[in-house]
Symmetry: D2
Subunit: 437 residues, 4 copies
Amino acid sequence: MSRWTNIIEDLLSRVSDIGNTILANSDADSIKLSLSEKCQALLSNVGEATGLARSREILDDYKRLDKTEQLAFFQQIYANFGVDEDLLRQTVNEWLKHPDKIESRKIHTISEPLSQELIRRLNLSYGGTAALVKMREDLLEHIKTDLSLAALDKDFQHLFTSWFNNGFLRLERISWSTPATILEKIIAYEAVHEIQGWDELRLRVAAHDRRLYAFFHPSLSDEPLIFVEVALTGDMPNNISSILSGDRQTLDPHLASTAVFYSISNCQTGLRGISFGNFLIKQVVEELKRELPDLNRFVTMSPVPGLRRWIDSKPALATNLQSLVDKLTPLTKKPDDTFIEKNQQGLYQLAAHYLLEAKHHKGEPYDPVSKFHLGNGARLEQINLWADESKRGFTGSWGIMVNYEYDLSSIEINHEHFVREGIISTSPSVKRLYKNS
Amino acid sequence: MSRWTNIIEDLLSRVSDIGNTILANSDADSIKLSLSEKCQALLSNVGEATGLARSREILDDYKRLDKTEQLAFFQQIYANFGVDEDLLRQTVNEWLKHPDKIESRKIHTISEPLSQELIRRLNLSYGGTAALVKMREDLLEHIKTDLSLAALDKDFQHLFTSWFNNGFLRLERISWSTPATILEKIIAYEAVHEIQGWDELRLRVAAHDRRLYAFFHPSLSDEPLIFVEVALTGDMPNNISSILSGDRQTLDPHLASTAVFYSISNCQTGLRGISFGNFLIKQVVEELKRELPDLNRFVTMSPVPGLRRWIDSKPALATNLQSLVDKLTPLTKKPDDTFIEKNQQGLYQLAAHYLLEAKHHKGEPYDPVSKFHLGNGARLEQINLWADESKRGFTGSWGIMVNYEYDLSSIEINHEHFVREGIISTSPSVKRLYKNS
Amino acid sequence: MSRWTNIIEDLLSRVSDIGNTILANSDADSIKLSLSEKCQALLSNVGEATGLARSREILDDYKRLDKTEQLAFFQQIYANFGVDEDLLRQTVNEWLKHPDKIESRKIHTISEPLSQELIRRLNLSYGGTAALVKMREDLLEHIKTDLSLAALDKDFQHLFTSWFNNGFLRLERISWSTPATILEKIIAYEAVHEIQGWDELRLRVAAHDRRLYAFFHPSLSDEPLIFVEVALTGDMPNNISSILSGDRQTLDPHLASTAVFYSISNCQTGLRGISFGNFLIKQVVEELKRELPDLNRFVTMSPVPGLRRWIDSKPALATNLQSLVDKLTPLTKKPDDTFIEKNQQGLYQLAAHYLLEAKHHKGEPYDPVSKFHLGNGARLEQINLWADESKRGFTGSWGIMVNYEYDLSSIEINHEHFVREGIISTSPSVKRLYKNS
Amino acid sequence: MSRWTNIIEDLLSRVSDIGNTILANSDADSIKLSLSEKCQALLSNVGEATGLARSREILDDYKRLDKTEQLAFFQQIYANFGVDEDLLRQTVNEWLKHPDKIESRKIHTISEPLSQELIRRLNLSYGGTAALVKMREDLLEHIKTDLSLAALDKDFQHLFTSWFNNGFLRLERISWSTPATILEKIIAYEAVHEIQGWDELRLRVAAHDRRLYAFFHPSLSDEPLIFVEVALTGDMPNNISSILSGDRQTLDPHLASTAVFYSISNCQTGLRGISFGNFLIKQVVEELKRELPDLNRFVTMSPVPGLRRWIDSKPALATNLQSLVDKLTPLTKKPDDTFIEKNQQGLYQLAAHYLLEAKHHKGEPYDPVSKFHLGNGARLEQINLWADESKRGFTGSWGIMVNYEYDLSSIEINHEHFVREGIISTSPSVKRLYKNS
């Protein structure tokens, strides 16, 4: 090949570059067009040599899209970066005919949608992971409009499950020595018991008898993925305000017998469905036992967010429970002592009935918090009345809260029984309440 | 369900535990059995609650296997953790009939072999990634014995490509301030120009005009994945000894115009086929330009390891080249000046001919080093005779070495031309040698 | 010496230990006694072998003293740990007689009060430096009651000057990534323009055009010694509110031409008189020039805290100035435009007159801020009216503020002239105001 | 003062600057002159404003001096930066007359030689401390030539004692993860049992049953001040080769009962006389006890470097010992078993006699190692024959080594007895040997 051909080739290539630039600078519609084209170009790079710059460019372009453009972008990716169906048809036909000659594993390889490889390549550049988590956050929104995009989300979910594998996560204690950049995110992300500013945060991370642990991923270094707040106490608590109170007596952690997990918050909407919670609790238990060998109980102080929702969804309850519910419904705050005395037992039974009976059609517990802890192998230990007098607590469950216990010696068995047979590990006292309900 | 049932269930479960323990402690064959069973158990954990401990246990057990047991283990995994073929058959049949109702993406999901999920779960525990990289190193050995295991290796390769994505890697400069644990690995892993002990290492990392950069992965924190050694020089060098020499004059790096990549070594056998090299060079170029803005050339000093192997594999060459080869073959060291003067031009032409003509049947360059740099978009810049007088250099290519140039303005175009059309970017001088050959 | 003697000696020694313990546990007076005794014991340790534990113990005991006990403690130290006067008398007499035989340096060694060695030994244990800084803070209080203790303070001052030598200090940028433990101290220590909580702090450390630098000492790792706040601006500002305002436009720091030092705060009362300020400003200027080479002006935005105090202390001013002062005195806030227009020129002249004429009897500037910056070699650059409308600003100087300029090319000469001859480097515009006053 | 005066002053000042520059660039003699002048200038800076640059300059100039110039420099400093004797004479005369009016402390302040302030100011700039330590190393050399400089050295010693106070030191474990820059210094500084290269170093820092701890100072961050090497063993050893051997069995540190300090090396000649050793051992003991609570003995494996030197210095010994010495003197290596059997007891007694009897005229032990450990409160525990067969060991003490024991319960009492009364804490077995000698 002569040198001139080379030069002419070069010129042509440069012209195409200029073309791309022109496209990139034209109106919104063509940006989208060009973004999809850039994705095509990124995928066609056999040697990945230029992938770094291109993936950066695509992610930067994406950031500038408005909501309408985003939707169009996802739809294009879904439509254009699917499976090579001709090749797949040919392969499965061969396989059906000659299952001995063709490995079924080959079908897996061939049926991988291009979108998966696209996402992997978008992750090439520094900061790619964070951008992709944000991108999935947007995608989850757009699925509400266009259900077909749920199939595209599977790709994200598949890769994120692999990338955010527990082996890659780093448990860190958040303390008053943590940089403010991260502390302000804790304030923002706390989803269970709101943190009202820095002074309240200080109570939760700087007090000697409080702990806060978070999971981090090396590629999202300033972003906690999930965190749990822990109180070190002398006994298993029966209400939340004794834990959150600002003017309580601080306990020497070496005198504590019990660690109370009183709040767990997921931080990244874009990682919805990628579960870290069970690993977090288990690693925190290990960490705490290492630091404070005298701790012997690990319990939660958990809300019962589904109770009233479940009652509202039911046409009717058993007579005795229904009449109690009728009395409870008008309440907006903790009633007087007479009311309590008269209805206390009923309320305990109602809660026990709900926690042990209310199920989704697949047999899973109706209550999401209950499902989470039982699935981790915890035991339903104690029901607490008037334990959360906040508006949210009252609206969700008339202030009822529950302690789940993580008993290390039975956690594995509980988990197996729960997952395989739906058996809920329950303390004798709650069992009794349930039987009488 | 009564409390007694619970207790009896517990007892039964504990008995099974004891059973497992007994199995685990019996002879080699049953360890393998039990390992495979443990893998089964790890996969059957719906909630992943106990996965952490179990994955740790499996990886620990694996470490104790001897070579024969390893082979049996891999064969069992391959045989037992494949695709659910019944479900796959049913799904593809449906899809073939109703391609509009069933998404082809669904076939991908269904055809995933269990072994992939197994590997993902083995990665749950701390240290899992390192153990899996080691495991694949073993697997690559066993494939030589049992070719069918190559299909299992695809799973490792697939996941490692995702996990060792460039976005997760961290470029670090290795210097004399680097911990000795890592420095001794550099000595051990250097694969191109051996490092003979600490004093020689010092020359390569502590001299002002030398650099060494490595890629690290957050889950393999003390293990470099790949590294490149760089010399900062005034000119493009034409032999390797001027770079490696211990008693050369050190150059003030701010006066250097040229960065010479004179050695690239992959460190982890278990990551074979997962490519980092092109990203490494590109990030090092960026890093060097940031630190030393006056650098204006980025070239390699590369061996030509395939030259003599290629000649040996050819029945015959063109007459003039063949007669030269006949004269070269008996040589064991650099010949005298008369010989050189007479044959110099021919030798240049032989090298140019090889570099531009010698291909594998797929059209790729025969020379692996050439293929790597050309694939990255580098230009074949200069051929150097008697440039490496070491035994290895002489045995591979009569001491011929090549400079490839990474010219940032043309790297992308070179890459495109090379990948799409097999065009090799070549300097005018090398082109001339080739034409005359 | 027989073994028995040994044993008896041991017993005696243990008895004395018990004695000490008894003393230590008796009433307040004896604690003081015992503290002083412990100091004696610490000093008498020739080999320093047990000094570590003893110094820790003394510092712990000290912490428990109340104010009265502290005063007694300092008085005892002053009285009992002075100079060995007999030895000194003997030595100086010899020296006076034979100045050739005795080195005058020897007198220095002999006249060192024991209190200096005591302080050095109290610094042996980890945390000693912090405890001694706190101790001096107390001592400074007690000097107000008992002036003789000023001589004891000289020992602290002498050693602190040595220990807090600039060569041991570490300049650090405080940013939003700084641990909260340190950030909350910045809020607490800011002495010039109060920081009202975390949101205001964020404006001063996290905005792209704001900087905060502090000096740290390795033995007081979580305690800033002094810090300076910097605004990066397009021009030299003429009022403080434009700098502190929360809703201002943020400037790209690379477009800034001017760095404004708008607040300097000393943090440790116990380090009073140990000067860091001039080094801080100089190192920050170096740091800023390295990061942002386009910065070309370094000025302050400084209060004039002594103006009104000085006027109040004077029996009378020149007629024209006095009549202006009479009009200004009743003002409690910025007057109306008519007033300003009429008196503006006079006010400028009053300020210029004060800054160039008002001196302490030793010839130093009356204004402490002025003295500080002029002593550092800065130039009196610009006088700004109504520049600080806060209560403090109005009370101190009717809102007048001053820009001092750190002009690197003349800083050294300015300093020499100022220190040797009292010459104040002044901009032409301020000179003109002064001449007309 | 008119503006012109200002300008003329400026001009004059600049002329003097030019003058300085001219001086600085002239011949060697004038460099020294100018250096001393620069020191004068540094001291005359009342406000210290320009001290930073000036101190840097002086230290840089100093580095370029040759040995002759250095001597001249120190002599000038000694001569020119002494005490203000006129002022001192006046003050002491007043004090002698009116001791009630003048504080003796004032004499201390007035008699401080300028050289002390000079050294403090030389420490202003970054890197100043390291340069001053190096400077004192030179000074110690020059004292051998000019004894009067010992008085100047007192200033260095005084300030270094203050700066290198234990409270400022940082204990660090040196391991195989330590940067190579520091590790190579350990190799270089080891003064007791030489480390022959990196492989031997690895044995001492990377083996599970070996430890190496060093003291660092924040201003000399890459330079260890002193380090100690520790072996964790099952028993108190009786020879050094079992500790240094490369092919010994490694012990699980949790099974060790004894920590053996087998080598202590001072690293900085410029810090001679500033003692860290006793603090180092004590902090290492604390550190080891925290990590390995089962350790219950802390002993040394120490040479007896003064034994033969002492014998040589004596005109005669007691007859029995003398005849033994006569037999030992011709030996160049460990003699045969017959010799050993016959003389063993005598050799033990000779060693015991030396360790308990050989004193300097001030009553201190003759053996420097013995003096160090006894001064720290250790007990003379065991004498070991043929314990060090190296040339150095044989030349110094016919291979005899000693275990000193750091018994935490008696360390303080031992120290007191030793320092106050010269009593050497001795084990019964050594006592018996001594009595029989």
